[in-house]
Symmetry: C2
DNA sequence: CATTGCAGTATAAAAAATGATACTACATTA
DNA sequence: TAATGTAGTATCATTTTTTATACTGCAATG
């Protein structure tokens, strides 16, 4: 998501933060699991590569919606979780999930003709 | 948006329909203006090319969220509008706009240090 | 002693999204 | 008669996103 909003469209701002193929899924897992370590997320999110997970997590951290805590053990553990700010996305994420479920159901029904 | 949802994530389904750089803006204009003709949309949406507008409109029509009506005059007029189904996106679009506005304000405040 | 798990990085390539430009046919306007 | 507006299409180029693959160092496990 590298686009600057054409005329200050707030929707586009939102997409810049949580748009893209993986971010919503990452945020969802953090919504459901509170804290997740890197490899735990990788296992949960089917098909994501390490590189993509790393990149998306970094962007989410930079945007302040998730936090990254390093536990100083050997080997190091890293825990990701939603920040308080990130939690303001909860209703939006739930609504996106609900509309998606609604749409998927409708598409399925249409395909059953 | 060409990705199939990794594990049936509903949020990803939603992104498939309304994700991308232009779709939310197109939908917003149709939310605010009821009916829009092709060139009217092009003028409203700063920076979009004819090609992108054509493509995004076609996808939105295919997904059933907007309708395309051709008025048989010369030269032909084409009117786009949200379908009843598309209107079910209204609360989601408004929430995306609201969170984006909230986030933009926060970013601005942070930049003012 | 070899493998596995930890949390990544580096490099290169492929795929997808987006953009730029020119073009269509017809009718009205200047 | 030339320019403008209608709603696009066609072709090519560029940018962005995503993937694939190999690699790091350290510790515990088998």
């Amino acid at each position: 998501m590298n686009y600057d909003e054409p005329f200050g469209c707030s929707v586009t701002v939102t997409l810049k933060v949580i748009g893209g193929r993986w971010k919503p899924i990452i945020l969802f897992n953090l919504l459901e699991n509170e804290k997740c370590r890197f490899n735990a997320l990788k296992r949960m999110i089917n098909g994501i590569t390490q590189r993509m997970l790393t990149m998306q997590l970094k962007e989410l951290v930079d945007d302040g919606v998730i936090s990254r805590e390093v536990l100083e053990v050997v080997p190091p553990h890293v825990e990701y979780s939603l920040t308080e700010y990130g939690k303001t996305l909860t209703p939006l994420l739930l609504q996106m999930r609900d509309w998606g479920a609604y749409h998927a159901q409708r598409s399925e029904a249409a395909a059953a003709d």
